[in-house]
């Protein structure tokens, strides 16, 4: 399941919904990305822009790839866009499987690929100015380790 939304999400409620009413799931793995105030100039807000139409398409492709590679009962990606504050969640990735290896690995895969494939762009605000975040080589390397 893919949810792209401006609204805040409830991490606990989203995870509980994954296995609600089911008894075939033995493991749920999850990742939450948060807005962090960091550095010499703490950021005061972050705005995420995205490409409506392509965002849904790419996240759907990433999810389908995970389901093809691992035996998964459920997957969930919730990704916010718009303006958000330090401490707020940006993204939730969760995967459910019978056993933990598939859940943990596929969760890591999803966030690593999302970081290099999903068409979002972050604008950081500080007290002084706003600047577009630059993509990191470390993200490309993390995604590359899943290449087959």
């Amino acid at each position: 399941m893919i949810k792209i939304q401006q609204e805040m999400f409830d991490i606990g409620a989203e995870l509980a919904a994954l296995s609600a009413g089911r008894t075939d799931i033995g493991a749920i793995a999850s990742f939450v990305g948060l807005v962090r105030a960091h550095g010499d100039e703490p950021i005061t807000a972050m705005t995420l822009e995205h490409y409506p139409g392509m965002t849904e398409k790419k996240l759907g492709e990433i999810e389908a790839e995970a389901r093809a590679r691992w035996p998964l009962q459920a997957t969930l990606i919730v990704h916010r866009y718009g303006r958000m504050l330090p401490g707020e969640p940006i993204v939730l990735v969760a995967t459910a499987s019978a056993h933990r290896a598939a859940a943990l690995e596929s969760c890591a895969f999803l966030i690593d690929w999302l970081k290099t494939q999903a068409p979002f762009w972050k604008l950081e605000e500080t007290a002084a100015a706003s600047r577009w975040v630059e993509a990191r080589g470390a993200d490309d390397e993390a995604a590359a380790r899943w290449r087959r």
Partner: protein, 83 residues
């Protein structure tokens, strides 16, 4: 052909989207970038570094050599920073 600009490309060009009709000899993403940049300083600055600017054609990532056709949706943006 519909052209979309995201993030700092939108800021530099002052344009979020535009409808264009390039001449028939513009058949690739790279040629389209050159044609869009010609005579428009903000666009030239935004599209100047093909190594940095990324593209999508009909919502799939595309390389400079990939084809573009009438009716396509082409987007230009920086490397993504989601997640």
């Amino acid at each position: 052909m519909r052209i979309l600009y995201f993030a700092w490309l939108r800021a530099k060009t002052g344009t979020a989207s535009e409808e264009v009709s390039p001449p028939p000899e513009v058949t690739t993403v790279g040629a389209l970038m050159e044609w869009l940049a010609a005579g428009r300083p903000g666009f030239a600055e935004a599209l100047a570094a093909p190594g940095v600017v990324r593209a999508a054609v009909n919502r799939d990532y595309a390389q400079p050599a990939d084809p573009v056709r009438e009716g396509d949706e082409v987007a230009f943006f920086p490397p993504v920073t989601g997640g």
